[in-house]
């Protein structure tokens, strides 16, 4: 090509074309390749009441279709977490001071308030990738990897699965496995389970051991019942082993009769707790089984989606979950989807609201509210619509509330009527936008 800069070639060509065709007005070219990438994006706000945890997150899932139903899905999500979360200590009628997990500095909870640990602020980035392709006519295999990073926690996982269709694709059997390793790296090291919370600067009770391995297996059957009804049944088994504690959770040491948190003597001229708290201790293994059933039923335009899950584990936690969604077409290309979810769980056998002073230490103890006995309900409404260009938008608003109770026989002395399960009310708002390029 002439050494002229290539850019001018198309300009000269355009002028020459005009001369040739005599300037017949034709619209500038609009040629777009059939979109290959589908982008699912979501902006989520999760906020608990009375300044507990707030989470704002942006998530993107990009799915690329290749020939003959091979596809690649790449996921990225970024969460920013603020607010505070119950540390596990009981409230008391005097102010309470706690050493920060890093061992540098302390924070104080006012009298009567539920102790909340606010060293919780964090940003979490998580990535996922999954490849799926057919294997022969009736099988579909997939393999994937997940990873996430917070300032004090790292997750790395791989997963894979296979699904096989039978009798004209009315029945499909699937099996999947996921293996992951998660590692805490708390500033200064994770505290020794059941060790006493020490003064600021004293890292005597710190250990380095802080990672866990999780293996998940899911076996499923999907069965088409009729033209409008499809069902799915899954059994899943999950085994976690290693460091299963939450390094920031503590349990108050309480007096056998009064139930009040037992005082402690601080070192001279040093900041630190004036009462005794011990870091929680959980077993280093947990086996979970769960059964899940889902049915989707089409009633000329409207779709009912109902599912039930039962879970039990060797920490004596049993849970039941019911999830109902009813999708209603609204107008030409919109829909409304009310959502109701009910969850209930029994408490872990080592869940306690106090380690009794003077008695031999239990092997395991945790006051983490997530291991308690509570019910949770979610009520939500989602409105979605499809734009002229074929993109899907939706907004959903949901209220999630947990309320638990501590059986009175577990309360002692002044705790009765004073120490309660930390109920929770949270607002969930999510905007979703799905488009293809």
């Amino acid at each position: 090509m002439a050494q002229r800069d290539d850019k001018s070639v198309s300009a000269t060509l355009a002028a020459a074309t005009c001369a040739l065709l005599g300037g017949t007005a034709s619209a500038p070219v609009k040629a777009q390749e059939e979109p290959k990438w589908e982008f699912n994006t979501a902006l989520l706000y999760y906020g608990e009441d009375d300044d507990r945890v707030q989470d704002a997150s942006l998530s993107i899932l990009a799915i690329r279709d290749f020939l003959d139903e091979q596809s690649l899905a790449l996921g990225l999500s970024v969460d920013t977490l603020t607010g505070a979360t119950p540390s596990g200590a009981n409230r008391s009628n005097g102010a309470q001071t706690f050493t920060r997990p890093s061992g540098r500095g302390a924070y104080t909870t006012a009298a009567g308030d539920l102790p909340l640990d606010d060293t919780f602020r964090d940003t979490r980035v998580s990535l996922s990738a999954n490849w799926q392709q057919p294997l022969g006519r009736m099988n579909l295999v997939n393999v994937g990897a997940t990873a996430s990073r917070e300032y004090d926690y790292t997750h790395l996982g791989v997963n894979g699965g296979i699904a096989r269709d039978f009798n004209q694709r009315n029945t499909s059997v699937s099996a999947g496995i996921a293996i992951s390793r998660d590692t805490w790296d708390v500033v200064g090291g994770s505290p020794e389970p059941l060790s006493l919370m020490s003064d600021v600067g004293d890292l005597g009770n710190r250990t380095g051991e802080d990672s866990k391995d999780v293996i998940d297996v899911v076996l499923g059957v999907t069965q088409v019942i009729s033209r409008d009804l499809i069902t799915q049944f899954n059994y899943s088994y999950s085994d976690s082993s290693g460091y299963l504690n939450d390094p920031y959770k503590i349990v108050s040491v309480v007096d056998a009769t009064s139930g009040d948190t037992v005082p402690r003597q601080r070192g001279p001229g040093v900041e630190g707790p004036d009462y005794q708290y011990r870091f929680e201790s959980r077993p280093d293994n947990r086996a979970k089984h769960s059964l899940y059933g889902q049915a989707k039923y089409y009633m000329d335009g409207k779709v009912l989606d109902a599912s039930y899950r039962y879970m039990t584990d060797d920490w004596e936690i049993d849970s039941h979950t019911i999830d109902l969604r009813y999708r209603w077409p609204m107008g030409e290309n919109g829909y409304l989807e009310p959502h109701f979810r009910f969850y209930t769980q029994t408490e872990a056998e080592f869940y306690t609201i106090g380690i009794v002073d003077g008695e031999p230490l239990p092997s395991y103890a945790s006051a983490d509210y997530r291991l308690g006995d509570f019910d949770a309900t979610t009520i939500g409404l989602k409105y979605g619509w499809t734009t002229a260009g074929g993109s899907d938008l939706s907004v959903r608003v949901e209220l999630y509330s947990q309320d638990g109770d501590i059986p009175s026989d577990r309360l002692r002395g002044n705790q009765i009527g004073y120490v309660e399960y930390p109920d929770l009310d949270a607002l969930i708002v999510q905007f979703s936008y799905r488009f293809s390029r």
Partner: protein, 58 residues
């Protein structure tokens, strides 16, 4: 599962089942977000697919 063989539809009658809103997981991103919220607030997880997790959320 013998009873299963006559359940189901002919291959050409899958138009309803092919609709987006009839997929078992309609919005994979929302499903993942929900799984994650509930994983970090409750003691159970997953069921639909692998348990959530991978976070030190508390």
């Amino acid at each position: 599962m013998a009873g299963c063989s006559n359940m189901g539809v002919e291959s050409w009658d899958r138009d309803v089942l092919a609709k987006d809103e009839m997929q078992l997981i309609v919005d994979p991103l929302e499903a993942a977000t929900d799984d994650h919220i509930y994983f970090s607030k409750e003691a159970s997880s997953g069921g639909r697919s692998f348990g959530g997790g991978g976070c030190g959320c508390n």
